[in-house]
């Protein structure tokens, strides 16, 4: 991949239209900065496909604001694109999107990717765009979130009883953690490392690469790969801007997004095993539940979470998702 990268051009040509792309992540390192590969490939395809009429300008490191702010800036067209967002950011605009955050839904990463890059993802993207003015141009199902803690190895939901688990204050996450018998504790991301280190909370739930990002492996002892949620960073584009493109240009944007997604997910997949090894090397005991144990997590959370979700998500999406997962499973062949 490295050979095809060239720095995002910043020269100003008069006729060139600048597409502002903001992230909270770093720039310049293909392994450590999640969106570097994305923006590089996107820009290359974009510039080549439009003969340089469009170019991407990247604002890394939260320069233009945090996730919440970048979402709103995209909605208002102050910037055109932003990456690293999650479905929760859009729940305020379009509550039904929370269906993708239903725990223990996707049996495997491959199924998750097939579903989100297929018709289901497209439909949901259209619905969100209509409600919010933001189009999800890329779904990046990248890795599963799992529980980590400092007290004991978690094999079944029983082991979670009485643990203080940090969650984001999102209703579904709260319902899930509480259904498992733990105490859901909101702690700001910036305070999480110290909170785990000092014992303000016992554990948290994140994907391996996020754990490494926050150096949380230094302050956690046990990691159970219960794969409850599929972490799905999103790339947004302002809908008005997108619809204002000529049909040809829009196709170039779509192609750029597709290729960028493809390359980025490839890098992440290659990294995943390494990430788990790094976490284990830091002294964290990693446990993979047996299918029977996994089923206990599913049973414990299904009803309470569904109840929370049914208040927010239109019923049709449940059916659509079920169907899409079945299709994908049939195509890919079996689970995992």
């Amino acid at each position: 991949v490295g050979a095809v990268l060239s720095p995002v051009s910043s020269h100003d040509a008069r006729a060139q239209e600048i597409v502002k792309f903001a992230t909270v992540d770093c720039e310049g390192d293909i392994v450590d900065c999640p969106y570097y590969a994305y923006t590089e490939i996107f820009n290359q395809v974009l510039e080549a496909g439009t003969s340089g009429r469009y170019t991407l300008q990247v604002f890394p490191n939260s320069q233009l604001g945090d996730l919440e702010s970048l979402t709103e800036q995209t909605a208002r067209g102050i910037i055109q694109m932003t990456a690293g967002q999650n479905a929760g950011q859009l729940a305020g605009y379009y509550p039904s999107i929370q269906i993708v955050e239903m725990p223990y839904t996707f049996p495997s990463l491959e199924v998750g990717r097939a579903v989100m890059q297929g018709e289901f993802g497209q439909d949901l993207s259209d619905a969100v765009a209509e409600a919010s003015g933001i189009r999800i141009i890329s779904w990046l199902p990248s890795a599963f979130r799992s529980f980590a803690n400092n007290v004991r190895p978690i094999k079944t939901p029983k082991d979670m009883e009485g643990l203080k688990i940090r969650v984001q204050p999102v209703p579904i996450h709260l319902a899930m953690v509480e259904a498992l018998g733990a105490s859901a504790t909101p702690i700001a991301w910036g305070e999480l490392y110290n909170a785990l280190q000092t014992g303000v909370v016992d554990g948290q739930e994140n994907a391996p690469y996020v754990i490494l990002l926050g150096h949380l492996e230094e302050v956690q002892k046990f990691y159970t790969l219960d794969n409850h949620l599929l972490n799905m960073p999103l790339v947004f584009i302002n809908e008005e801007f997108y619809q204002g493109l000529s049909e040809e240009d829009r196709e170039v944007f779509d192609r750029a997004a597709r290729l960028a997604t493809y390359s980025m997910l490839g890098i992440i997949a290659a990294k995943e095993t390494q990430d788990l090894k790094k976490i284990a090397d830091a002294g964290v005991e990693i446990y993979s539940p047996t299918p029977e144990e996994f089923q206990q997590f599913v049973e414990a959370t299904r009803e309470p979470v569904r109840k929370v979700l049914e208040e927010k998500v239109d019923a049709e999406w449940f059916d659509k998702l079920d169907a899409a997962i079945k299709n994908a499973q049939a195509e890919i062949g079996g689970t995992n």
Partner: protein, 172 residues
């Protein structure tokens, strides 16, 4: 006329101050409660963090209007002695006009902000974004009002003599 305006300013000031104080006490109380709940009862509420953040912005915008009303904004007074008094009056008028412009923009954009996000809900409290954002236009509106009353007062009565530097009057 000025008396009526000043009376109104006092009433608005009293309301803003009372609300800001109650909100601030509430912020301190829920954050403390959160510690006690978690440490003693192993239980956390999902909303205090978010509620405290948004209430604080209300506190700031309301108390900010008091800073203007009571002329408590810090300025660099170091060179003020070098100014001829007549020029100083003109300068102050100019500043008040500029500030009124700034506050006007903030008021107008604040309303836009609040209405634009009205049908979006916040993560934890699940309330409309209208309510947190409303602090901006309400605060800016109050500030603008107090600013204009002060400007009118200066115009009709002449500016008050401030012998002490603003830092003494200021709340910093």
């Amino acid at each position: 006329m000025l008396n009526v305006l000043e009376k109104t300013a006092d009433i608005l000031g009293w309301i803003a101050s009372t609300m800001a104080r109650l909100m601030l006490i509430f912020i301190a109380a829920i954050l403390f409660l959160q510690v006690v709940l978690r440490y003693v009862f192993l239980f956390s509420l999902p909303w205090p963090e978010e509620a405290a953040r948004y209430l604080m912005i209300w506190v700031v915008m309301l108390a900010g209007s008091l800073l203007i009303k009571d002329d408590q904004l810090v300025t660099v007074d170091f060179f003020d002695k070098l100014w001829p008094r007549r020029l100083l009056v003109a300068r102050n008028v100019l500043f008040r006009v500029l500030l009124a412009g700034l506050l006007g923009v903030l008021f107008w954009q604040g309303i836009d902000l609040a209405t634009f996000s009205a049908n979006r809900t916040t993560v934890a409290l699940q309330i409309s974004w209208f309510w947190p954002y409303l602090a901006i236009p309400v605060g800016a509106g109050l500030m603008l009002f107090h600013m204009l009353v002060l400007a009118l007062r200066d115009l009709l009565r002449g500016p008050p003599e401030h012998h002490e530097p603003t830092v003494l009057r200021a709340e910093i």
